[in-house]
């Protein structure tokens, strides 16, 4: 899939940078907890 097609596909999920930051922070916090538990 070309980048242009990929961006067209992604249009239906359009969001904002703050939501992305929050989602990434949650994922990294979970990974840190898993590392601490290991």
């Amino acid at each position: 899939m070309h980048w242009g097609d990929l961006f067209e596909r992604a249009d239906e999920y359009r969001t904002d940078a703050a939501t992305i930051r929050e989602t990434l922070a949650d994922r990294r916090a979970t990974a840190d907890e898993e590392d601490a538990d290991a």
Partner: protein, 156 residues
């Protein structure tokens, strides 16, 4: 201090996901990389895993898989231990001159502590990078000669 390569760039997972799901400055910054074969995106597996997870979470699994396939063709792979910050460690391992991130902490204390005096890398917002990116002078510095213009279609 190790030399950094001004044509090597790390985009943190938030910027990689925003390229797909937001557009705007993140896409403009990534287009600068996609448009020039001599500008390199440096990324570890851990960094791409983070971005793929965000795209899957806010989009869907097929979109995330398609993105992973495309970004794997674009990136220069580096490795670092799990547990290191993926963007900072990718920059360090790949000697990248720029890290793009929306994370304010990364742009201040954390980055200074992580890099110390070991690497001359700057952390910028995509907006800051897009505003400062000057392909003419960068081409002259890293490749030599007159800038021939973009050599790749950023939408292919």
């Amino acid at each position: 201090m190790p030399e950094t390569d001004p044509a090597r760039i790390v985009a943190d997972a938030d910027v990689l996901a925003a390229d797909v799901l937001v557009g705007g400055a993140a896409r403009e910054a990534m287009d600068a990389i996609r448009s020039h074969s001599w500008v390199e995106l440096v990324a570890s597996r851990h960094l791409l895993d983070d971005a793929e997870a965000v795209i899957r979470s806010l989009g869907d699994a097929n979109l995330a898989a398609a993105w992973r396939e495309r970004i794997e063709e674009l990136r220069v792979e580096v490795e670092h231990p799990r547990g290191d910050h993926p963007a900072l460690a990718s920059a360090y391992q790949g000697q990248a001159a720029h890290v793009l991130s929306y994370d304010e902490d990364l742009r201040s204390a954390e980055a200074s502590a992580a890099f110390g005096s070991r690497l001359n890398t700057s952390v910028k917002t995509p907006e800051g990078f897009a505003a400062l990116f000057d392909p003419e002078s960068l081409y002259e510095a890293v490749e030599g000669g007159e800038y021939p213009g973009p050599d790749r279609d950023p939408r292919e």
